[in-house]
């Protein structure tokens, strides 16, 4: 048997020469990568039109492993880099895959403004509730009372509820799944690959090495069991009700699916109205 016959279909999308990857056993990031590849396959999207952008952190490493055009940006900046890619190449499908520390803390301003403008990019945020790569400091989604290296007796800060943040900032699609919900997570990714506008998928993922160990939540498998037992699917739920508490219920589902003009559509419309024929969208002749 030649080696090829053993191939996992996911492999052809990954830079196998970079394996083994850096992620720990039981980490949820690999599941998200797997779901995303399967979503690419299912969506029948031309892979050459896809570009993956990620920032810094454990999830940020994704860009380096994908065999598509990918951009591993500086900390917090994948959304503006992605906005640049999309604005110059509106025909491309731009996907941001990064962690919550990267996208919501240091890059939080970009997140809300890209959603407000409805930049046509797909943001998949792996939320593991801590800055894992730097050793587990308290982050923007860390549940109240969760332990972190910079919150040794538990966090006293109110965390962000990401679907609510995305919805209120203007996202056209908002969903949350855990890495236990691989089919739904994959489906959400297929949805966003086919939907115009700023689309947001929160992927709640285990970080056994840092977050769970410090909070005594067991290993990767135990976390999957936790997700199974503590998640409730509530499609269309009011995003204001989606706060996550330590050891509490995790409401998952597709919450928002709405249409409004993308950043470039709105610009074209406004400028065409003002300038008529004198307005020629850039780049000329490219599908937006």
């Amino acid at each position: 048997m030649s080696q090829g016959e053993h191939r996992n279909p996911v492999e052809s999308f990954l830079r196998m020469d970079r394996m083994p990857h850096i992620w720990c056993p039981g980490c949820g990031i690999g599941i998200v990568v797997n779901c995303f590849v399967r979503a690419l396959l299912k969506s029948k999207i031309d892979v050459d039109s896809v570009s993956v952008v990620s920032g810094i952190g454990c999830t940020g490493r994704i860009a380096g492993y994908f065999k598509v055009d990918s951009f591993h940006t500086t900390h917090g900046r994948p959304i503006p880099f992605a906005t640049g890619l999309k604005t110059a190449r509106p025909d491309m499908n731009i996907v941001v895959l990064s962690g919550e520390g990267d996208l919501i803390a240091i890059g939080g301003n970009h997140f809300i403004h890209a959603a407000r403008r409805n930049v046509d990019i797909k943001v998949i945020c792996v939320n593991n509730f801590t800055y894992a790569m730097t050793g587990g400091q308290v982050g923007p989604t860390a549940p109240l009372h969760s332990i972190a290296t910079t919150a040794p007796y538990g966090s006293h800060e109110r965390p962000f509820n990401l679907p609510f943040l995305a919805e209120s900032s203007g996202a056209t699609y908002v969903a949350r799944w855990t890495t236990y919900h691989v089919r739904q997570l994959t489906k959400a990714m297929v949805d966003v690959l086919n939907k115009p506008g700023f689309c947001f998928v929160e992927a709640i993922a285990p970080c056994p090495t840092i977050y769970q160990r410090r909070n005594r939540m067991g290993d990767g498998l135990e976390m999957m069991r936790f997700y199974r037992e503590h998640s409730r699917i509530a499609n269309g739920a009011d995003t204001r009700s989606l706060d996550i508490e330590m050891g509490g219920e995790i409401v998952v589902g597709k919450f928002i699916d709405r249409d409004r003009p993308t950043y470039l559509e709105a610009m074209d419309e406004e400028l065409s109205k003002r300038l008529g024929n004198r307005y020629v969208p850039y780049p000329t002749g490219v599908k937006r």
Partner: protein, 391 residues
């Protein structure tokens, strides 16, 4: 009283900040600085340090918070590295302009790209002109000592400027070394309570940070230049006082077996310690090599440098960063500029080594010493070179 113990330079620094009774710590996680603020947050949570710890959302916010807290008269500390220091860039200029005596540790690390978490000095060299006092530690003890000193100097009312203590990422930040940890009373006897020169005060309102129209902008910058240059006196004075108080001497430029040396090499930071080993090995072979360790980077210690170099004909400078498309090594170019108008000036041989965590073994120092002896013999100064470059 002091205790002899073993700890990472990062932990030693955090303990020093605790001994100095910092009021505020604001920081964002970045490798290899994180152990400092992690330990500080433990000290705060355990009630050993009565401070507020602010886990901000970026380094830009960290330095902004520090400016705010320092402006109301709180003893303020932060730590960062690399991209974090670069992200602070905008605010770094604000602190000295407002005379805010913030103390910051920088666990020196290379800048992207490519992304690198490892050690060199490209982060600090990019911040040369921010108007801060900048000093370098070579080991954990120095990192600890200079942190205590930094508060004393920064808060000296003749100075009232921010101080950056550089210590090499990983090489020091993550290495356990023996240190002598002073006790609280000894530190308190050296470091008086913070009496800010300027502060926001409801009873005597001032405005900080307003617009400087062309009529006064030049003068404000003249003042900053004079202030930082004149900080030299208080720096030497407070370092001497540190020596008397704690028994460990620090000088703006330090030397190692330099007195009778025929050729000198200048280093900054932790690699000075490897260089000392390399000097010893050469000395065993009867070769007269010596070392200069540039401790104070800003204000630049011109006179100390002239004294240390003396009439020596050859001086090698080992940089840990490149000034792309410019005069190559940033430290070497300043050294050369410093000697330009001097009658007595050495031939300066430039090296860059240890970029992005590349190890600099003794053999690399041998390469440098060989080049220095070659220049001594022939009088020829070679082109600047990257030591350890793989062809």
């Amino acid at each position: 009283m002091e205790t002899r113990t073993g700890m990472e330079a990062s932990i030693a620094i955090a303990e020093a900040v605790c001994l100095c009774d910092a009021d505020i710590v604001a920081a964002y996680p970045i490798t290899p600085q994180t152990h400092i603020v992690e330990h500080l947050s433990e000290l705060v949570a355990d009630g050993k340090l009565h401070a507020n710890f602010v886990p901000v959302e970026s380094e830009h916010s960290a330095m902004s918070v520090c400016c705010g807290t320092s402006a109301v008269g709180a003893r303020t500390y932060t730590a960062t590295a690399s991209q974090g220091l670069a992200l602070m860039h905008e605010i770094l200029f604000i602190a000295p302009a407002l005379r805010l005596p913030i103390v910051m540790s920088v666990a020196n690390r290379s800048l992207s790209g490519p992304i690198s978490i490892w050690n060199d000095h490209s982060d600090v060299m990019a911040e040369r002109d921010i108007g801060w006092v900048q000093i370098f530690a070579e080991n954990a003890q120095q990192a600890l000592d200079l942190t205590i000193w930094a508060f004393r100097l920064a808060e000296d009312r003749r100075v009232s400027l921010p101080v950056m203590v550089n210590f090499d990422g990983f090489i020091l930040s993550h290495t356990i070394e023996p240190v002598l940890m002073p006790d609280k009373e000894t530190v308190q006897a050296y470091l008086p309570p913070f009496e800010p020169l300027l502060r926001l005060d409801v009873d005597a309102p001032v405005s900080m940070g307003p617009v400087g129209i062309p009529d006064i902008y030049t003068e404000t910058h003249h003042v900053q230049q004079v202030l930082l240059t004149d900080a030299y006196g208080p720096i030497v004075e407070t370092l001497d006082a540190f020596g008397k108080h704690f028994g460990r001497e620090y000088k703006p430029v330090e030397t190692y077996r330099a007195d009778d040396a025929e050729v000198l090499l200048l280093t900054m930071g932790a690699l000075g310690e490897t260089a000392m080993e390399a000097v010893d090995l050469r000395r065993e072979r009867g070769q007269k090599v010596g070392l200069l360790r540039l401790r104070l980077w800003r204000p630049f210690p011109f006179e100390d440098l002239y004294r240390a170099v003396g009439r020596r004909p050859v001086l090698g400078v080992m940089d840990r960063a490149i000034s792309y498309g410019g005069p190559y090594g940033p430290v070497a170019s300043e050294i050369k500029a410093a000697f330009y108008h001097r009658e007595q000036r050495p031939r300066v041989v430039e090296f860059v080594a240890g970029l992005g965590g590349r190890d600099v073994p003794i053999s690399d120092f041998d390469t440098m010493f060989d080049a220095l002896f070659d220049t001594l013999e022939t009088g020829r100064v070679p082109e600047p070179r990257l030591v350890g470059l793989r062809e």
